[in-house]
Amino acid sequence: MRLFRFLRPKSSAPVARERLQILLEYERNLVNQTNLIAVLREEILAVVGRHVTIDPDKVQIRVDRSAELSIIAVGIQIPNETRMTAAAPA
């Protein structure tokens, strides 16, 4: 078979195509994920902020994706002097 290799066209375009398809699928998800985080952040801030005074800069949201499941981790720092109330907003 090797003998006839010179007869085959050297096709690099299919490689380019495949690499792009894989890469762009990944990158498009990445962008959507950043949007998801931004939306989650805003909505969680609004809900928690109704009951507790929080500093928007001290809220962290992370999405870990793996094959079987994804984890959304939300970390909110609350200063000790803040009083937490369970009362419904007026």
């Binding site: 050297k10 096709s11 690099s12 375009a13 195509r17 690499r19 398809q21 890469l23 762009l24 990158e27």
Partner: protein, 271 residues
């Protein structure tokens, strides 16, 4: 009210400026009034490609900042009387562009011209985002090559999120213009073919501009492709693309300088 088109790509050197000039001149040839606007503040080149580099007195920044009237900054083309250029500033930087300033210049141009064609700088920074901000439609220029296609995809994302149209929930019409295409290399599998690029990016095709020596010749002479080499392959491809941009149905072909059977065979397979 005129239509505002942004010519963008993300990647540099793919042919934004050449395409802006060529599409602008082709549209102006039909009698429509056209202004081509250079948004590449600090690295302007549309003036050179249009052959108007020695006639620049005032620029976009002067108008944005109120130092000059729009009519003082507009340069009328010497060959086509309905074609105008609004040059970028060479000495300022892109931070001199303000969102409100650009909005007012664009809406002003919209009332005066049938077509406002904005030549975006490369990259995704201020100049590029402001060039697309108030556009009605986008022309994404891409070479059949991995980095250009990737960057084009990124631009699609930006157009879908950072433009006025996107924020109003209307969505912006996007057109793909493939430049520097070599049908023979594509048919040998050495270059991404049109079908591949379209499948990856999924944007409607505006035109295919073949790789050609004529493009360099036109920029050497300071004439848009569609003024200088009017019968050359890239020029014909730009004329077709301009007609499609104006809403005409034009059969998609890859014009060629050499009448090659190879090309025809290839195109039939890809279509």
């Amino acid at each position: 009210m005129g239509k505002v088109i942004v010519v963008t790509s993300g990647k540099g050197g793919v042919g934004k400026t050449t395409s802006t000039a060529a599409l602008g001149a082709a549209l102006a040839r039909t009698g429509s009034t056209v202004v081509v606007v250079d948004f590449d503040v600090g690295l302007r080149n549309l003036d050179l490609v249009m052959g108007a580099e020695r006639r620049v007195v005032f620029d976009l920044i002067n108008v944005v900042q109120g130092d000059a009237k729009l009519s003082q900054a507009l340069i009328r083309d010497k060959r086509i009387e309905t074609l105008y250029l609004l040059p970028a500033s060479q000495t300022r930087d892109k931070d001199a562009l303000t969102e409100d300033g650009v909005a007012s210049v664009i809406s002003n141009l919209r009332t005066k011209f049938d077509w406002v064609i904005c030549d975006s700088p490369a990259g995704i920074e201020r100049g590029a985002t402001l060039a697309m901000r108030y556009a009605d439609e986008a022309v994404i220029v891409a070479n059949p090559e991995v980095s250009s296609v990737r960057d084009s995809d990124r631009m699609v994302g930006l157009i879908n999120s950072k433009t006025m149209k996107a924020e109003l929930g209307e969505g912006m019409m996007k057109h793909l213009l493939i430049t520097r295409f070599d049908p023979e290399r594509a048919s040998r599998g050495e270059m991404l073919n049109i079908r591949d690029v379209l499948e990856i990016l999924s944007i409607p095709l505006l035109g295919i501009i073949p790789e050609s020596e004529e493009v360099l010749r036109a920029s050497n002479l300071g004439a848009p492709m569609t003024i200088c080499g009017r019968n050359s392959a890239p020029s014909r491809a730009y004329f077709d693309a301009a007609r499609r941009l104006a809403g005409e149905e034009v059969e998609m072909t890859i014009p060629t300088d050499r009448k090659s059977l190879f090309t025809k065979l290839f195109w039939r397979r890809a279509a």
